[in-house]
């Protein structure tokens, strides 16, 4: 699904190149649940941004679904966002002026999904995540965990093939974090959605089936996780 070949990313200031990523080459297949790990400043967020096409690599090629997407125009990129990619953020990034319902609806509106189809998809998601009662509340009326649930529901609304999550549990208490990770695992297992997450936590990484360890912009280790833990999943 994703092919990275020799990705480099550097910023030059005063003639000196500061490398963020070097020689990153990897393949991520459909249905994988990849956790990118590494210390602060190692380049893991940049890698995720490149995967999300929010940043362009300085060098190298990036193929997404067999298509070269290393540098895309806005229209093409947005087409991918609308149809294939869902984002989940550490700070949830729900739109404060929209209700839960409207937040989930927003991507569907951009995708120009018909109104009845929209209603049924949102109803489905609300139901699945147990937040039906909260649909008319605004984000600031929800707890962090609930907000992240809405954030994930929003990411799933367009039925993407891949979810990119940047420290999705970074702002959450451990119980809530666990709940979110189990949800990810379930989505990955049952619906075959590819998930790539950036995380600090060893524990969170174990929910996935592959860990990319980055240090100083270089992939130091690419290993499968131990036997997947299914404990606690509903």
């Amino acid at each position: 699904m994703i092919e990275l070949k020799n990705i480099e990313k550097y910023y030059s200031s005063k003639g000196i190149k500061h490398y963020v990523l070097r020689h990153v080459t990897t393949t991520i297949k459909q249905g994988e649940f990849v956790s990118i790990m590494g210390p602060s400043g190692s380049g893991k967020s940049t890698l995720l941004n490149i995967l999300g096409m929010l940043e362009e690599p300085t060098y190298g090629t990036f193929e997404f679904l067999g298509e070269d997407v290393t540098s895309l125009n806005e229209r093409k990129r947005i087409e991918l966002y609308r149809n294939h990619i869902g984002f989940v953020f550490q700070a949830y990034h729900l739109i404060d002026e929209m209700t839960v319902y409207e937040n989930i609806e927003a991507p569907l509106l951009y995708k120009k999904v018909g109104s009845s189809e929209r209603a049924s998809r949102i109803a489905n998601l609300l139901d699945k995540f147990n937040i039906v009662a909260k649909k008319d509340l605004f984000p600031n009326q929800l707890s962090g965990g609930q907000q992240q649930l809405v954030g994930i529901a929003r990411a799933l609304a367009t039925q993407p093939s891949i979810i990119l999550a940047d420290e999705p549990t970074g702002n959450l208490q451990s119980a809530q974090a666990e709940e979110i990770m189990q949800l990810f695992q379930k989505l990955n297992k049952e619906e075959g959605i590819t998930i790539i997450q950036v995380t600090h936590s060893e524990k969170n990484a174990t929910y996935g089936n592959r860990i990319l360890n980055i240090q100083d912009g270089v992939i130091k280790e690419d290993s499968p996780t131990q036997a997947p833990q299914m404990g606690g999943v509903v």
Partner: protein, 803 residues
């Protein structure tokens, strides 16, 4: 999508109530001023547009100096009546040419069978062709034959209703008295024309055909001046016609000079030149003969209302860009959810459209409320909903709406939609914070406008004060001007003189509110001088209370005063030389002795310089037939005496009511235009200054908010509250001072030009500049400090907890 965007817009407005109020309220005020101006301009440009046929009507203009206020030649609306025949004969494109007498005096007395006489103004005497040229709609009578016979009258609908209560008045007669001892003429009503709801430059309540102006004067040296209008059957080439007109005019003048025994070169010297042209009727109102046209008159107000609108738009832009931080996350999220930049721009434009619409709505209410006051104050009949041009106005409003939406909304929308999602979603707002330079620029621009306006107000105030307190050179109180002709010895004058409380009865051709200047050439010491001549009666100069500088003024003791003496004003004396009393000057063949010099007195506004003037009692220099009967009372409470005068008048002239005005009123009227203009300028200026400050207030709030974290850190590092306030003030203060530096020269140039329009003016004062700067700095510091203090006294822990 649209609905959701609308919802978000609404929720955002609601969340930032204060800023929304400042935005929308400010915009509404700016729009209101602008819409009122548009309505005024609509009114002024709608002259003579009430029928499509008016396109083919032209007014004749002759270049001459007869009866001009400054004795200089101008393109005058009144022409030698002989021009009508000339144009009719020589310009075949014109179907009809009509002569219309000038709108004389204060009106005629209308006497209906059993009713008291009443003064009605705007009776226009025309030849029989008026309605062939002007396409008025006849409610009664026949357009093409109504005024064929002499002594016929056609009423405007409104006058017919006023006099008779109906328009069915055909063949009734009314008696018309044109002056006080006119025995009256019975006029037969032969038509009633519909009122026109749009302004007309040929204004009339009734068209009369007396037959007086059907023929030109027989004597070649006698002239009748009247307005001349011609109608063409289709489009004509004005330049071409004017070229022909000029040629035939020169030929005509040459031929007439031969008969009058003058030479062409003698007549056209000192800047005088022959000229005759046509202008389209629809341009007549915008090109008055010598007054300032309305376009020039309202230029400053146009400028200020544009500034006002600009200030409110700037507020809008500034607040929107400052607020954009709050929306940055929304933009970032929407971008990764799959929104095009274009969609985001549309969304934010929609938001400004929403606010503009709200502002426009408030503006329409405000305009409705203010329109009567505005119309009353500026003496125009403006209409909005009931306007003939409602469709036109709707388009203008729509245009304004679109324009404002784009002006106010586009920049913030563009800034917002440019946010980079990676930076914004990382919470890195500072680097995503765009448009600071632009915003600072706009604040400076706003303050340049505000400071310039404050300086302008200051200079205008000082000038107005100066004029109001300036000595006119004569005593204007206790002085009443009865609108009638007068010669020493007239019955009415003798009767009035006998009334207790009356000090002088006199007449002059030059009086505030009604001046009839007669230019002349005099020779003194073999040198020729152009002067203005004024004919007075013996008592006129004492009645005016002029100040004698040397010699004496006219007096009954000196018999020769009615023959060949003259009094000069100071300006004329300066022109002639020194020690003039007792000297002689010549005017043509006649010579006059100078008996005295008086101080200049102003009989026009202070924008015009006093002309060098020669005063004489004799008839040689012109007739005292201007409608000025001057009565000076000897006590401040002259009401009873004035009533006695009126009673006396009624006894002698029962059929012609007395028309009079106090000279004080005439003076106030001469100042009125300047006063009203000043009032509106002050009002608009104050509003725009207030709006600028509101904008600054809101902006500083945002700045303080944006720097919450910085302030908290500084406080932890040991900054005092005062230091924090100073820090926040500094950035704004630099902008305000910069704006002051820029506005000084601008204000200097503008006010200097304005002062240049006055013949009597103050020197450029320094104080308004200093006051404007000090005020703007103090108010800006105060405004910013209000917000800065709030930010400074906050507990830093609260601010830092967020991160």
């Amino acid at each position: 999508m649209f609905k959701l965007n609308l919802k978000i817009a609404w929720r955002n407005l609601f969340k930032n109530k204060v800023y929304a109020a400042i935005n929308i309220g400010g915009l509404a005020i700016g729009l209101t001023a602008f819409v009122l101006l548009i309505l005024f301009v609509n009114h002024e440009t709608s002259y003579d547009k009430w029928s499509p046929d008016l396109k083919n009507i032209y007014q004749l203009r002759e270049y001459h100096d007869y009866s001009t206020p400054d004795n200089q030649p101008h393109w005058m609306q009144v022409n030698d009546s002989r021009m009508a025949a000339l144009v009719r004969d020589k310009i075949p494109q014109f179907k009809y040419v009509t002569r219309i007498d000038q709108d004389w005096g204060d009106g005629f007395s209308v006497k209906l069978a059993n009713a008291d006489p009443a003064i009605v103004d705007h009776f226009r005497d025309t030849d029989s062709l008026f309605f062939k040229v002007f396409p008025y709609q006849f409610l009664q009578g026949d357009r093409f034959t109504a005024i064929n016979k002499p002594n016929t009258i056609v009423l405007k609908q409104s006058l017919a209703v006023k006099l008779f209560g109906t328009v069915k008045v055909l063949n009734k007669t009314i008696k018309l008295l044109m002056w006080r001892d006119d025995p009256g003429t019975l006029m037969t009503i032969t038509g009633v024309v519909a009122d026109v709801n749009m302004p007309e430059s040929v204004k009339f309540n009734a068209i009369i055909h007396t037959g007086n102006i059907d023929k030109d004067p027989e004597q070649i040296n006698n002239f009748r001046h009247c307005e001349i209008y011609a109608s063409a059957s289709g489009k004509i080439d004005i330049t071409q016609v004017n070229r022909t007109l000029h040629k035939i005019y020169v030929d005509y003048k040459k031929a007439s000079f031969v008969k009058r025994k003058i030479t062409y070169a003698d007549y056209y010297k000192n800047g005088k030149k022959p000229g005759l042209k046509i202008i389209p009727l629809q341009k007549v109102y915008a090109t008055p003969s010598f007054d300032v046209s309305w376009v020039d008159r309202i230029k400053p107000i146009v400028a200020i209302s544009i500034f006002l609108l600009l200030v409110s738009v700037i507020n809008f832009v500034n607040l929107a860009t400052a607020q954009s931080v709050q929306r940055a996350k929304e933009v970032g999220v929407k971008k990764v959810l799959g929104a095009y930049k274009k969609q985001l721009v549309t969304q934010f434009l929609l938001e400004s459209a929403l606010q503009t619409l709200a502002a426009l709505f408030i503006c329409i209410i405000l305009v409705e409320v203010l329109l009567p006051v505005f119309s009353n104050h500026f003496d125009v009949k403006l209409s909005f909903w009931r306007s003939e041009q409602l469709l036109n106005i709707s388009f203008q409003l729509l245009g304004l709406f679109v324009l404002i939406t784009f002006m106010a909304g586009f920049y913030p929308a563009w800034i917002l939609s440019k946010y980079n999602p990676v930076k914004v979603l990382k919470g890195n707002y500072e680097s995503g914070f765009k448009g600071i330079a632009m915003r600072n620029g706009l604040v400076v621009l706003q303050f340049i406008i505000a400071v310039t306006l404050i300086i302008g107000i200051g200079v205008m105030y000082q000038q107005t004060n100066f004029v109001a307190n300036k000595d006119l050179g004569f005593n204007r109180d206790k002085l009443v001007n009865i609108s009638t002709y007068y010669r020493d010895g007239d019955l009415i004058g003798e009767r009035i003189k006998k009334i207790t409380g009356v000090k002088y009865v006199a007449t002059t051709t030059q009086l505030m509110g009604n001046t009839f200047n007669v230019p002349s050439e005099i020779t003194y010491n073999n040198q020729e001088h152009s002067v203005n001549t004024v004919t007075v009666t013996m008592d006129a100069l004492p009645a005016l209370g002029v100040q004698v500088l040397s010699g004496r003024i006219f007096s009954l003791e000196y018999k020769k005063d009615t023959v060949n003496t003259a009094v000069l004003n100071e300006t004329a004396a300066k022109l002639l030389g020194k020690n003039l009393v007792g000297k002689q000057f010549k005017e043509g063949e006649n010579s006059f002795q100078i008996v005295g010099v008086i101080k200049d007195y102003n009989n026009e506004g202070f924008d015009k310089a006093v002309l060098p003037t020669v005063y004489r009692v004799t008839h040689l220099g012109g007739m005292a037939s201007t409608n000025n009967l001057l009565v000076r009372f000897d006590s401040d409470n002259y009401k009873p005496a004035l009533m006695a005068v009126e009673a006396e008048w009624k006894k002698i002239y029962p059929d012609f009511p007395m028309i009079y005005t106090s000279v004080e009123d005439a003076f106030q009227k001469s100042m009125e235009a300047t006063h009203k203009q000043m009032q509106i300028i002050v009002l608009f200026s104050v509003i725009s200054v207030v709006l600028s400050l509101l904008g600054l207030f809101a902006l500083s709030t945002f700045m303080a908010k944006r720097r919450t974290k910085e302030i908290a850190i500084r406080k932890i590092l040991g900054a005092s509250n005062l230091e924090i306030i100073n820090m926040l003030n500094r950035s704004f203060l630099i902008l305000v001072i910069l704006a002051n530096l820029i506005s000084w020269p601008i204000a200097f140039i503008i006010t200097k030009k304005w002062l240049g329009g006055f013949a009597y003016r103050i020197d450029m004062p320094f104080w308004p500049f200093a006051i404007a700067t000090i005020t703007s700095v103090i108010i800006a510091v105060f405004t910013v400090s209000l917000q800065a203090r709030k930010a400074a006294v906050n507990n830093p822990v609260d601010a830092l907890k967020y991160e």
